[in-house]
Symmetry: D2
Subunit: 393 residues, 4 copies
């Protein structure tokens, strides 16, 4: 319960040094609510500019070496050129995200649609995404299914599950041997009565039916109020099926705020489950990704801050005295065990992480360093004209 100044020892240096966080290309474009999307000067106008912006986050944090693409938002003529562009900027292409919500044909469903032609189209879209994987070297296909219904009776919940299983199997069959597929669940939105993959149980059942290359994506904003998310993390790790995170924050629904902004203690508890299961290591197969919308804040600093928040939560989780925790737990010492966890959480790790950055040849303060770099002003001046990229473009 006493304050201590944490020290950057070899264990922390190694564990923190291995951590990587993947950034979504769309976080650098404009986003908003159904009410309004506000534009900002300097917003990227194409995938090249998005990657350039994402690379800034990596440059100042050392934590974000990969960028997720979205198809068709990030379609380019020559993906090997885009991959080369990424490499020049010090990053690589990460997951390929499909899009099942913006085609007029998907109004009542995509992979679950009652019309086989629509399902075929949605499956074919994933074949296209897998081609992008091959072209970019990406090894992971991410599927978020926005399908659902708005009114009771609108469609058969059961029949849609069956059609979904079929469609997913067709996509799965297209994967190369070294490909992985991850399936995301979401509590609600854009559908308001029922969602076809609303919870981790449904996602996991489909993954189990598909095979070992299919795993679950946990988006921290996609749960009912009060859901204990770290329990789900522990459960999916226990099943060996936690494929990826989509980190973001929420106070109400799928608010898509910066990771760690709404409930930093929850983020710490999630990372505590990760650390306990030794799943921070790259070979654990968990892709730690951000998925958030910077509606009113600056986008690059918003991503920097989010990445730092995840890192701070990780550092605190690494500071948990595992031996003392285990002893208190075995002794049934409720307050003692909770106290061990809180001691780590209450520790200020910002100095330790600044030290790590300095050791790595980076600036101690990424937010200030980026602000001082003049990059924001430069892109605001340069990126005039053209169509700003938006969530959905």
């Amino acid at each position: 319960m006493t304050a201590t100044t944490p020290v950057l020892d070899a264990r922390l240096r190694k564990a923190l040094g291995e951590q990587t966080i993947e950034l979504p290309s769309w976080a650098f474009g404009n986003s908003g609510t159904r009410f309004k999307v506000f534009g900002t000067p300097g917003t990227p106008r194409d995938p090249y500019e998005k990657i350039a912006d994402a690379a800034q986050v990596h440059r100042y944090t050392g934590l974000a070496p990969r960028v997720s693409l979205h198809v068709p938002w990030d379609l380019v003529d020559d993906f090997s050129d885009l991959a080369r562009h990424a490499k020049e900027h010090g990053v690589t292409i990460g997951m390929i995200n499909s899009n099942l919500f913006q085609d007029d044909d998907y109004k009542l469903g995509s992979l679950t649609h009652s019309d086989p032609a629509v399902r075929r189209k949605a499956v074919a879209h994933h074949v296209q995404c897998i081609d992008v994987m091959r072209a970019t070297g990406s090894k992971e296909l991410k599927v978020w299914l926005p399908d659902g219904t708005n009114y009771p009776g609108q469609d058969s919940i059961r029949a849609r599950q069956d059609r979904l299983a079929e469609s997913l199997a067709e996509i799965y069959a297209e994967l190369d041997d070294d490909h992985r597929m991850v399936l995301e669940y979401k509590f609600f939105e854009p559908a308001f009565y029922h969602t076809d993959v609303p919870d981790w149980g449904t996602s996991l059942l489909h993954c189990l039916a598909l095979g070992e290359k299919a795993n679950v994506v946990l988006d921290t904003g996609h749960h009912a109020p009060g859901t204990n998310i770290e329990f789900i993390v522990a459960q999916l790790l226990r099943q060996g099926r936690l494929g990826a995170f989509d980190f973001n924050s929420r106070f109400y629904a799928d608010d898509d705020l910066m990771a760690g902004a709404a409930d930093p203690f929850q983020l710490f508890r999630i990372m505590h489950e990760i650390v306990q299961a030794d799943a921070l290591r790259p070979e654990s197969g968990v892709n730690f990704m951000l998925d958030q919308c910077h509606n009113i804040e600056e986008k690059i600093p918003g991503q920097i801050r989010s990445v730092m928040n995840v890192q701070e939560a990780t550092a605190k989780a690494l500071l948990v005295d595992a031996e003392a925790l285990d002893a208190a737990q075995r002794a049934g010492d409720v307050l003692g065990a909770n106290g061990v966890l809180m001691d780590a959480y209450n520790t200020d790790v910002r100095g330790l992480l600044a030290d790590l950055r300095v050791e790595q040849g980076r600036d101690a303060d990424p937010m200030k360093a980026f602000a001082a770099s003049g990059y924001a002003e430069r892109i605001a001046a340069e990126r005039v004209g053209g169509q700003q990229a938006g969530w959905g473009a």
Copy 2:
């Protein structure tokens, strides 16, 4: 507990005959989620076409004689001409709704903005709305404040309340003697950390500070999960400050589904409070309005169905045996009192309402009658080209 076939007696005929439901012009335009807005053939391209569509709802139900306008979405050169157009179609102009969420200046707030110039602009917008009231004969100004913040610390909650009070007072001062103003509250969205008018208590406090012409709007979708909405209805009626409803349905957040679609029993309980307080009468000052988004369903039938759902809930509420209910309540007969309420709810009132429509010279089945009218096909053919009106246009 026995089924009875309800009879259309004089009391019901009178009470149901007086009921009116106001329609929002924007319900006839396209709407959607942040993910996608789907278009549909025949969608109105201007306020004239929206009113024409709204008039169809009134034609088949006899319940919807007024149409709410939204400024600037429904701006026209000549509002007296629009009012005349409405009259020709058998309806009148209802409330005027202001818009505080689509101007770039309102990114961080409107009536609460820290910059006085932005607040002045937002106040001036309401002066414009009041001019529209004068031009159209509307007597009510509806203010929904989308203001709020996304991150803790982003702005001062307290200072924003003070600035809001000032701005509202300036607007209130512009009202004519026979004008009314209603202030809507909303739990969250588009702001995700705090909302400046998040609950009925906040709205009521501002109304009390403003004066007797200010009342609260209760949107049925704007509450936290589990909130007992009929309690709020009873409380606002007790204070004499229930200005209007925005009826719609929700399973999760502000889903804006058709009224009565998600929880018809809740709609009945709300109307039971209205009937108990004798607030169905036009002179009660409660404006029963719809506010919903027909994202995937046809819009005119969606409104017809919603209006019918409100009417069915009202008819059931009118069938509650008030004397038996009161007796059971006074006797502390929990199951008996609940049983009296449920008896009314479980009654099938559709035949009774069909009889009422036939008496009024209308078709017994509004949905079928509209479908058979060919109107939908006609507008789909006629309204080609131009820009479809959307939520926000």
Copy 3:
């Protein structure tokens, strides 16, 4: 959309005639909140009296031929005598429910406890329950696990899952060939930070690991706000793993109100999934059970009313025009498909069910018939002295 008077045809007569609902013995004892348990005259003082009361529900409704027992609450010296007593009263013994929450040793867990001695005790308790099954002819063991923690860090979520899996396997091994075991999940309470079986996914994973005799119990009050329960029903039916319902109602948390009292439309939607999957038949293996607490209302009438509510929802679900629904769904007719469902829901089935009861030689109105029987007055007079049975005794 027009009112119709439903007719009791052969199909309905058969389907409704097969339906059975199991009653919990503890519903007839006193219950309450942590704040207060109110007593009532005539409350049973032992399992014999509970069964006698439960038999009254069956007598007037014809729907409730089985009574669930709770061990140790319903321990008697001679279970064959209790089974005989039940038979004399026209009912049989249903599921045997274990109790893992009232022993001082279970303060920090039972089947998940870090101390192997406590786990052995909890497993042994189930062996005792299985003995009661053999003695009473019951074929189903119901396990609800109240285990969980109140504070982050208090115990290891992962280790508890492992210990739970082990404990359940030991219990499962004790089952006879014709025994079944069902595992209930619960969102929260009595634990307030994490619950060891909080959702259907966790329950199902344990059942899958155990084998074919293990299935999931869905208690309608054990979910997060907004959860689409009928989706879970459909999903578990699709997996062939829906073992039983615990029906009750909730507005907020696990309120344990009468089934159908809070959201009758939801109960209807649940029964619609059941009917669609043809799972109403006894051979479907789904045990339709009530689990509720009559804190302030009379208990026998409370159960009668609940049973009738489930029957009404079932009758409405049976009235859904499956062919028209399917056609509208395939046509993508959102309003039409929803309308087919609502037509059934809006139908008043009380007359039809009264006819069914009269056909069966019962009174048309169970509530009135029970009230007129004098039973309530008789037990109030007779059951003086002794210790009233309570939830937990």
Copy 4:
């Protein structure tokens, strides 16, 4: 964003030195859920022992000089003797809490009951409480109204409000000139359909009707999921009507866990509103009280930890750079303003508070000091026999 070691300067010393937190006597008795109340060795058996235990919390923290009593749980023959006993132990008697939920007459309501005799009884109980205030020197009467209904229709929501207003006015008239009354609201439980004072708006309306001596109590666990509690704090402070806090934590419902245990960031945000409005000062009239249940953890350490959590949140709130925050807010710098708040939150204040305690002549670590004192072992040995005090006894 850089870590700093906060220094105990004069401003902090003064502000922190003035802070007091009131303890509830019932926190030292046994508590539990409706499922089970677990006993613990050393639990107090009477109000004298409860006060002795509460005094231990003050002894080690210097923060908890007052103890709230509950009538009738804490009834003694001679209240002046109890007050003397408290004084000897270094504490005083704080608020007097009435009890409207444990009398059989209150099954269907107390101050709202339809039977005037029950209402009179409930009013008379408060007159008794006011007598206890006079006898103990307490100046505050705390009313939490558990009244409500479990089923729609059970009673008239409106009539109950009217009866409540009447009853409260009768109680208010009994207060002495220097007395205050505070009215607590609660979202749900023990009532499950509607609660008669469910939200801050309702509580405030009754307080406004009563007069200046009536203020609102905000229990941090008594809200719907997602409610922004610090907004309510700001709103009530703005109205000058925040009478008291009941601090505790919740993950789901009214879990009554230790303050700061579930969401320490929320507690910090609440204290930030307090500090911003300069309401930490004793003369602000806000009584900072704990109200929690230590179901499974040790009670005295549970209170010590809670008090320390409130103090840590307060210290962090005091560290917010108000000038920098205001500047960033005025500049519309979303990330900057949020960053100022987070900088304070992320600071480790435990060392600073240890320094403060040492300055005050206390041990740096209250948890360890209490554990080392042998008090827990002593009371476990001494308090054998008798009836342990429980929540409700």
